[in-house]
C-alpha cells in the first residue's frame, strides 16, 4: 500500500466519527520505481491531506517533505519538490505492519502490502 491510498483511507467502524488518518505501524517498507507524471500530481494535490501525508512519510522513513502544506504554485515551478512528492506518494510501499484507528485503537494488519480492512460483525 502506498501513501496515496493511506491518505484516502479512513476507519469506518460503526460509531467512529473521525477515523482519519489511520496511524501507520511500519515493519517493512519497500521502494518501487514509478515514472513521474506531473499531471497526476497536480490533479491529486488538492485532495491530499498534507499533514497526514507528511507525517506518514516520516513514519515510512522519508524525511524530505515539508510539514506545512506547500503553496500550489510549487507544483508548476519546482521540479525538485515534484520529485519528492512523487516519491513519497507513489514509490514507498508499506509491505508489513498495521494501520491503527485514531479513535478506537483498532489495528488493521497489513500483510504482503495489503491492509486487511474487514470489520468484525459488531463493528458494522
Amino acid at each position: 500500500m502506498r501513501l496515496l491510498t493511506h491518505n484516502m483511507l479512513s476507519c469506518n467502524i460503526k460509531g467512529v466519527t473521525n477515523g482519519f488518518p489511520l496511524r501507520i505501524e511500519a515493519e517493512k517498507v519497500v521502494e518501487k520505481q514509478l515514472e513521474i507524471n506531473h499531471d497526476f500530481l497536480r490533479n491529486i494535490f488538492p485532495k491530499i491531506d498534507w499533514k497526514a501525508f507528511s507525517d506518514a512519510s516520516r513514519i515510512m522513513g522519508y524525511h524530505e517533505l515539508p510539514e506545512e502544506p506547500p503553496e500550489p504554485s510549487v507544483l508548476e515551478s519546482d521540479a525538485e519538490f515534484l520529485g519528492k512528492f512523487h516519491h513519497a506518494l507513489l514509490e514507498l510501499h508499506l509491505e508489513e505492519g498495521a494501520l491503527i484507528c485514531p479513535e478506537t485503537g483498532r489495528k488493521f494488519p497489513v500483510s504482503k502490502g495489503i491492509p486487511n480492512m474487514l470489520l468484525l460483525e459488531d463493528e458494522v
Binding site: 484516502m8 479512513s10 469506518n12 482519519f20 491529486i44 495489503i114 491492509p115 486487511n116 474487514l118 458494522v124
Partner: protein
C-alpha cells in the same frame, strides 16, 4: 446445482485458491473481463485531457479489470473480499493498491477524494445473504452510501452487474438512487442472451445534463429507449432506463386501453423475461358492463 456462483457459496469461499487460479488463467475470462472493463471506462466518461485520475475498482479480484485501468493510464485502488483473488493479483504484480475488504460493510474512504469508480461483475453478490447477520438491503445501503460519499462531486461510478432477475436489478438500482446518485442502466446487446451486458451508470450529485445516461451498444449500433416509445422488435436495439427523465405519459385514447395497447404491453413484458399469458382471442376483449 445453479450455475450462478453467487448461489453456491459466499464470495470469499467461492473464490478460493483454485478458483482464483482457474479464473485468472482462462484466456476466455481475461478477454471478457477486459472488454467489460474497457466499456465501463468508456461509460465513466472521464475528461479527455490525458490527466491520470485516481479510480476505484470495487471487487477487483485478481486485477483483470484493474489492468485495463492501468493500460488507460490511471491510478487505482482495488477492493476485494477474497484473499485468494488478491494473492493472484499480487503474483501478477498489478499496479494498483489492493485492499482486503467487504463492500457490503461500506467503503472506508474519505469524502470526495475519488475521481471515478468501476466495478466489474461483482455488485450482484451483495444481493445474497451469506451469513445470518447479512441483510442484503442494509449492505446495499452501506455500499452505495459510502460510494457516494467518497466520490468527487460530478464523478461517476460504472458498475457492470449480473443481476439474477429483474427484481434484483431494480433492488440494486433503487439503493443507488436512494444514496443520491443520478443515472440509470445501460444495456448492451439487450436481445442476445450471451452478449447482453448491463451497466449501472451513476453520477454523484444532482441531476444535470451531464448525468444523462448514454446509449448502449447493439448489433446495428442503434440505440433507443426502454419505455413506451421503444421501437422495432426485430432490431437488435438497446435499452436505457433513465430515472431522471420524466416518465412519458401513456397515450390512452378515449376508448381506453385497446387490444393493440395490451398486446404491445404484453410483448414488452415478455422481452423483459416476465411470464405473460399467451395472446388469444380473449385478450383485451370488452367485458359486459354487468360482469
Amino acid at each position: 446445482m445453479s450455475s450462478r456462483p453467487e448461489l453456491q457459496a459466499p464470495p470469499e469461499i467461492f473464490y478460493d485458491d483454485s478458483e482464483a487460479r482457474k479464473y485468472t488463467s482462462s484466456s476466455r475470462i481475461a478477454e471478457i473481463q477486459a472488454k467489460l472493463s474497457e466499456r465501463a471506462l468508456e461509460l465513466l466518461a472521464l475528461p479527455d485531457d490525458g490527466v491520470p485520475r485516481l479510480l476505484l475498482d470495487i471487487g477487483c479480484g485478481s486485477g483483470l479489470s484493474g489492468e485495463t485501468i492501468t493500460e488507460n493510464g490511471h491510478q487505482w485502488i482495488g477492493l476485494d473480499i477474497s484473499p485468494s483473488m488478491l494473492n493472484v493479483a499480487l503474483q501478477n504484480e498489478v499496479e494498483g493498491d489492493l485492499l482486503l475488504g467487504d463492500m457490503g460493510q461500506g467503503l472506508g474512504l474519505r469524502p470526495g477524494v475519488i475521481d471515478g469508480a468501476i466495478s466489474i461483475s461483482a455488485v450482484q453478490w451483495l444481493c445474497n445473504a451469506d451469513k445470518s447477520s447479512h441483510e442484503p438491503r442494509l449492505r446495499l445501503k452501506a455500499f452505495f452510501g459510502s460510494l457516494y460519499r467518497c466520490l468527487a462531486r460530478g464523478a461517476r461510478a460504472v458498475l457492470q452487474v449480473y443481476p439474477e432477475n429483474l427484481a434484483q436489478r431494480e433492488l440494486i438500482l433503487s439503493y443507488a438512487m436512494r444514496a443520491g446518485f443520478a443515472g440509470g442502466v445501460v444495456v448492451d446487446f439487450p436481445h442476445s442472451t450471451k452478449r447482453r451486458k448491463e451497466y449501472l451508470v451513476l453520477t454523484c450529485g444532482p441531476p444535470s445534463l451531464s448525468t444523462a445516461v448514454p446509449g448502449g451498444k447493439g448489433e446495428d449500433g442503434e440505440s433507443c429507449s426502454d419505455d413506451e416509445s421503444s421501437g422495432d422488435e426485430e432490431n437488435q436495439t438497446v435499452s436505457i432506463s433513465d430515472r431522471h427523465r420524466p416518465r412519458k405519459k401513456q397515450k390512452i385514447n378515449k376508448k381506453g386501453k385497446d387490444r393493440g395497447w395490451v398486446l404491445k404491453k404484453k410483448e414488452q413484458m415478455r422481452r423483459k423475461g416476465n411470464v405473460v399469458p399467451p395472446d388469444t382471442k380473449y385478450t383485451a376483449r370488452k367485458r359486459k358492463a354487468r360482469f
